[in-house]
């Protein structure tokens, strides 16, 4: 299983924000979820992978080729950025004609089929499209030239659950081919729980957590206990805590080890959102 994306020690300094030695690997046949709060560096990382910004350090390889202005990897990737990039006065068939002139492998019948499948009107201008329709058009455009790699920045943000599920199904179908992969950034962690195989959590420009999603969800745990119980727990086993008048919660780093050491305490399974929230809190403490 070859890696479709390999990022090593990626650095980008904007003065008030910096991406600090981010590593990232996307194997074929998988979806890598890039999670993190707003401003954590998800979009900056994606821009660096696409060669849209000049990095201050590190290396980025896409489809085995170093990302430079001249490299030809772009023919094999489909890109969806956080907002639809198509102009309001255009219509969907015009977008198809524009992209037919941009990609060698553009498949017009496939694009038409996606328009039908997503129920996108051909006679309406994009300015009349809803946000969901615009996103579907972007995804149809990203898929219609038979890419090997999809890079999607917040592609499901602002969409209703029905449309989000529809798109996630599309992504899961796409990676059935072992030669395909998806990098999907989102702060809707429930989407990534459904679709992602691997997760990288960016926080303040650093990759603070990464690994196989199922392993992370199996390893981490959520402790719910009283203040007295929390005080008795070894802080080294915890990532972050939340104390309220009704009780305490904490993120346990190793659920099994914790259970062996504190069998009397209850440790629940976690969600990616729990991991995110507690890690942020732990960092702020």
């Amino acid at each position: 299983m070859a890696n479709l994306i390999e990022v090593r020690g990626l650095c980008k300094n904007y003065g008030d924000f910096c991406l600090d030695h981010v590593d990232l690997t996307l194997p074929g046949g998988t979806i890598l979820g890039l999670i993190g709060e707003n401003g954590a560096g998800k979009t900056t990382t994606i821009k660096a992978i696409l060669g849209l910004i000049h990095r201050d350090g590190g290396s980025v390889q896409v489809l085995g080729r170093e990302v430079t202005e001249g490299s030809d990897f772009r023919e094999d990737i489909g890109v969806v950025l956080d907002e639809s990039a198509f102009h309001d006065p255009l219509k969907a068939p015009q977008v198809g004609k524009i992209l037919a002139g941009a990609y060698r492998n553009w498949d017009a019948p496939l694009f038409d089929a996606y328009l039908d499948r997503f129920g996108l009107p051909r006679n309406k201008k994009i300015k009349e499209f809803s946000k969901g329709m615009k996103m579907k058009l972007s995804i149809a455009s990203a898929l219609a030239h038979h890419p090997r790699l999809l890079i999607l920045d917040e592609a499901t943000a602002g969409l209703d659950p029905v449309v989000r599920n529809e798109l996630l199904d599309e992504f899961l179908t796409f990676i059935q081919d072992e030669d395909h992969a998806i990098l999907l950034s989102s702060h809707i962690t429930s989407d990534l729980e459904k679709a992602a195989d691997y997760v990288t959590y960016l926080h303040r420009g650093r990759a603070v957590l990464q690994g196989a999603k199922d392993e992370l969800l199996d390893t981490y745990g959520r402790l719910v206990c009283s203040r007295a119980d929390l005080a008795a727990v070894d802080p080294a086993l915890l990532e972050g805590t939340r104390v309220s008048q009704f009780g305490c919660e904490a993120l346990v780093k190793d659920r099994q080890a914790f259970r062996r050491r504190y069998p009397e305490l209850t440790v629940d399974p976690v969600t990616l959102e729990d991991i995110m929230v507690f890690t942020v809190r732990g960092d702020e403490a």
Binding site: R74, H87, D88, Q94, L99, G101
Partner: protein, 211 residues
């Protein structure tokens, strides 16, 4: 890259109808002697500049540049497509204004030198468009359409002043455009050549920009 030019043409076409309608009104008013021909020439010249500028504004609104730079033609394609479109617009304005000047000449019954003057003034918009775009496009790539607006006003003002003042000056001196026949014939070519260093400069600017 042809896709990017196609995109610019689709968008230009959506703006073009209103530009052509206004141009037709000015042309008619000029034909009936209500406006001087220099007024119409100036209008077509401005049109040559406004189309590329408006395309930048459209692209910024749609955040197109990021997406376009991620397409196979990359950043180079974005710059190349914009210059090709500019050349197409200037070529279009050349054909358009020459045809209209010919119609004006036929309608007004202009003969001899007057007819040559009319046709010569038809060369001005394309030449003006090429020159002004050669200056403006790098500024637009560097600052975007919002920030480059000040430069646009400055360049337009100077350019329009030169054309309008030049034509008026010639008239006051009792000279006709025919006196400048050779410079006027080569002006569009020189304008076209001016786009070459401008293109290289824009490419350099766009390559160094973080999108």
């Amino acid at each position: 890259m042809t896709g990017l030019v196609k995109k610019d043409l689709y968008l230009s076409l959506s703006m073009f109808k209103s530009y052509v309608a206004v141009a037709a009104v000015f042309a008619a008013l000029t034909a009936f002697g209500i406006y001087d021909i220099s007024f119409f020439v100036t209008y077509v010249s401005i049109m040559c500049i406004m189309i590329p500028v408006n395309l930048f504004a459209y692209d910024e609104q749609a955040r197109w540049d990021k997406y376009a730079a991620a397409l196979p033609s990359g950043r180079a394609g974005v710059v190349k497509a914009r210059y090709l479109l500019t050349i197409l617009v200037c070529a279009g304005s050349l054909v358009f204004s020459l045809l209209l000047q010919l119609i004006v000449a036929l309608v007004s019954g202009a003969q001899g030198q007057a007819r040559v003057d009319l046709l010569l003034s038809g060369l001005l918009p394309a030449a003006y468009g090429c020159f002004m775009n050669a200056i403006l496009l790098p500024l637009l790539f560097r600052f975007g359409s919002q920030k480059a607006r000040l430069y646009l006003i400055l360049v337009l003002g100077v350019g329009v002043g030169v054309i309008f003042g030049g034509l008026t000056g010639l008239k006051e001196m009792g000279l006709s455009l025919s006196a400048l026949r050779f410079p006027l014939f080569v002006l569009p070519v020189v304008g076209l050549l001016a786009l070459i260093p401008s293109y290289l400069f824009s490419k350099r600017i766009f390559f160094h920009r973080d999108l």
